[in-house]
Amino acid sequence: MLEKFRALRAEHAAVSAAGRDPFGVAFDTVLSATEAVLEGRRVLLLGTNNYLGLTFDPDCIEDAAEAVRSLGTGTTGSRIANGTYGGHAALEARLARFLGRRSAMVFTTGYQANLGALAALAGRGDHLLLDADSHASIYDGARLSAAQVTRFRHNDPDDLRRRLRHLSSQPGEKLIVAEGIYSMLGDTAPLREIVEVKREAGAWLLVDEAHSLGVLGESGRGLAEAEGVEAEVDFVVGTFSKSLGAIGGFLASDLDGFDALRLSARAYMFTASLPPSTVASVTRAIEVMEARPELREALRRNGQRLHAGLSAAGFMLGAMPSPIVSLPMPDRERAVLFWNRLLEAGVYANLALGPATPGGKPLLRMSVSALLTPAQIDAAVLAVARTGEALGLIGTALEAAE
């Protein structure tokens, strides 16, 4: 049964042979949104997606603690079977208000939000158009749907247009799926152009704002807000596991009849709902996100500081400044070595390998938090620069990897 994983096991063993297992780091403890302890040593967390640093927000913790004491540790079932707790409905209403949408429904993870939304929205005879660099949850949701799936070149509205033109004679609804910020390189979708194509083709548009919620837009509603195209986005997907510092996912929309999805999205119907503590902390985190726009500003500054620091050190970076900063690596061996050396130097980043990365190329991926201090970022830049120098990867080598 497990024989088919032989090649995968060998590959994983090779990746881990250079030092630690990059996909199995076990921290002794986590100290804050920006620091943890690994084998007795403090490490700086530079790969958490904890964009606003809300995992240790005292108010979020307090509300979660209060909810666990009064309502218990779990719901022990789905909303359909075990009922909705007051907090679930209140969170959905609060989220809808924050997003300026008529309706929102909450899922147990963002992964499940995509599974549930795509499989329910796009049925037999419909068409899904996915960006080629879509997150695994989007691909998996598309596989669960009975729709015909077509992918378009990453961030290429013309390729999308061409494909929609081919499909124009075919019946069925067309749903375009894009992400606010793409998690591997931190690049954003050309949403205004995609909206234009969508209008021409009479298609629908779903935007996954997993990495852009709380990050982009004046109010933190994401890329659609930043680009001024929210009215043209029919469905918003997002997660509570990044800027909101907990776990969970959502789907929001202005469409009539939205609640039918509660009776058709299987990833909503057949899994336990979020526990009261999470519902409480997320509800509070939305309040905090609204009340403290300075967090978003600090996040932006931190992303720029890291980007500028690494550029000045001679690295070629994968994208414009954003909270995600990725270094393209020339090959898998040096990517693994880089990641290990950097951790030795006290900085935890993410090693991202194909096929999860654009073009299957290895990346050293970093993401910043609003709570990192300038001194912490400068220390990280220094550690990354020293590691890059020691491996001979500054400047030319990385340029060649582009």
Partner: protein, 83 residues
Amino acid sequence: MLDEQAALREITAALEESGKLTGPVTMETSILHDLNLDSVGAIDFVMLLETRLDTVIPMDRMAEIETIGDLVRVLTSQASAAN
């Protein structure tokens, strides 16, 4: 409409364009093994072909493609569906 020979010619040209042409390509050539394309490379290659031929190959049809011959069959049937 694209016939088999034309499809094979287009595939060879696309492989050449992307620097992946290592030798003669026949209907039996395995995309993953003989052409040394990994799954990401294979997808990129198919997208390149889609652009060249101005066609669209839905993802569920990708699953049936192992050899160049499979790809030719998909391309020839797609082209007619699109016209």
